[in-house]
């Protein structure tokens, strides 16, 4: 390229980028440009939002399903170093009144039972169980478990997507990233942002848009710890009605499940 041509090319490039900066809204720029200006208003791609809504709608149609999750939780320690802790989650669900959940990590194992009337926490190794009256729906249980008993059931979003409690109005960013293969299945990767969290979702292609992977990045923490879950589904599970009702083993002992408020009162004493 001759010097003259080179100058011309540079001038054209500069002019073009200047025009882009002045004229184009962030959404009209190519992906690299949008990435470069992350501080600007993130784009909300209606197609990404539609995919999220479609998934939520589909999840709410499931009648009897099993779900296994391989999870990784990051914790930021005193020094600012992130540590990872793996675990597994196994749900058996018959909405809206049946749920059995097993959660395991290297340090704890718990089972949870919900049959529309009673919520039970059981430690298979310590043999302690606690049962309390429960709300009439799983959706209500998620809230009561969290607010009243301080138990955050894992992957709550799986039960909230497709309901008013997962409003797409909270999104400040929504993008389609591209196709991705998870465990042999072709999925579509999406990236979303909202206050406090950036999150990514991998949805199966086709008419059964199951979430196969979820990554949540906590953005209001400077270390930005992440939680990731790989999900395996069985949407045609069969359960006995008794599957969701806890029957204490002979050697199990009943203890109390403390209400968060009760504990707070004790604190004042």
């Amino acid at each position: 390229m001759s010097p003259t041509l080179l100058r011309t090319a540079i001038c054209l490039a500069m002019a073009a980028s200047a025009a882009a900066v002045q004229a184009a809204p962030p959404t009209a720029q190519g992906r690299p440009a949008a990435t470069a200006s992350t501080a600007a208003t993130p784009a909300i791609d209606p197609k990404a939002v539609a995919a999220l809504e479609k998934m939520g709608k589909y999840l709410r149609t499931l009648k009897n399903f099993e779900l296994k999750g391989d999870t990784t939780l990051e914790v930021v320690d005193d020094s600012g170093q992130k540590l990872q802790f793996p675990g597994t989650v196994q749900y058996q669900v018959r909405p809206p009144t049946g749920m059995k959940l097993t959660v395991k990590t290297d340090r704890k194992e718990r089972e949870f039972f919900y049959d529309g009337k009673t919520f039970t926490v059981y430690g298979p190794k310590n043999k302690y169980y606690a049962s309390v009256d429960a709300p009439p729906t799983l959706h209500g249980l998620i809230e009561v478990a969290r607010d009243q008993y301080g138990i955050e059931l894992p992957l709550p979003d799986l039960f909230l997507w497709g309901t008013p409690d997962a409003p797409t109005s909270a999104l400040t960013g929504a993008r389609f990233i591209g196709p991705a293969r998870i465990d042999g299945t072709v999925t579509e990767q999406y990236a979303f942002r909202q206050d406090g969290v950036d999150w990514q979702l991998w949805l199966e292609q086709g008419d059964k848009p199951l979430p196969r992977r979820l990554v949540i990045t906590t953005t209001d923490d400077p270390a930005q710890p992440q939680y990731a879950a790989d999900l395996t589904w069985n949407t045609n599970a069969t359960f006995k009605d008794s599957a969701f009702t806890f029957v204490p083993p002979k050697d199990a002992a009943r203890i109390q499940l403390v209400e968060v408020d009760v504990v707070a009162v004790e604190e004042d004493k």
Binding site: T105, P154, D165, S169, L257
Partner: protein
């Protein structure tokens, strides 16, 4: 070491902030990633059954339209969410006090990954103590304690001291109680 010092305030604070995956000692500054994006708001915690089917939008009108014309009201949820999680913390040192038998889970610590902190706190303070106060809370009891079930309630008897286990969140705590009669 038979008797553990009560760590009442610390324990209570821990219990308040418990999540399934988190337990938060008051003085810890570590924190875990959030594990959920959205929060259920089916109704109030107190009158649970009555409110479960209340439309999620009810009662949130004050926050309508803040920057989100398409939908109403959940700004409140987002803020609340943030506050909850920011205060959660965990784990000073996973390998600390590894000999403490908590919860009989794997003969390791109680806590999905976190409880070692609470254990450590309880045990650390235990060293300087000589008596257990009724109503105080510890996160572990000595291995020499004996499990007794009296009137359907489980206790741990450790010499003259009786503990009543309870779940605070998913973590087992032991409250010092009067000997059951």
């Amino acid at each position: 070491m038979n008797i553990h010092k009560p760590v009442v305030v610390l324990a209570a604070l821990c219990a308040v902030t418990i999540g399934l995956l988190y337990t938060a000692p008051a003085d810890a500054i570590q924190r875990g990633a959030r594990t959920g994006i959205n929060h259920a708001h089916a109704g109030g915690g107190g009158a649970r059954a009555a409110n479960v089917n209340r439309p999620a939008n009810a009662g949130h009108a004050a926050n309508a339209n803040r920057g989100h014309p398409a939908n109403v009201d959940h700004n409140r949820d987002v803020n609340r969410n943030v506050n909850r999680d920011v205060n959660r913390n965990v784990n000073r040192d996973v390998h600390r006090d590894i000999d403490v038998d908590v919860d009989v889970d794997n003969h390791w610590h109680d806590g999905w990954y976190d409880h070692p902190v609470a254990t450590a706190a309880a045990v650390t303070t235990a060293a300087v103590v000589t008596s257990a106060v009724i109503g105080s809370i510890v996160y572990s009891v000595p291995p020499s304690c004996v499990t007794s079930v009296i009137n359907g309630i489980a206790y741990q008897q450790c010499g003259n001291t009786w503990y009543q286990p309870q779940y605070a969140g998913t973590t087992v705590q032991y409250i010092v109680v009067n000997p059951p009669g």
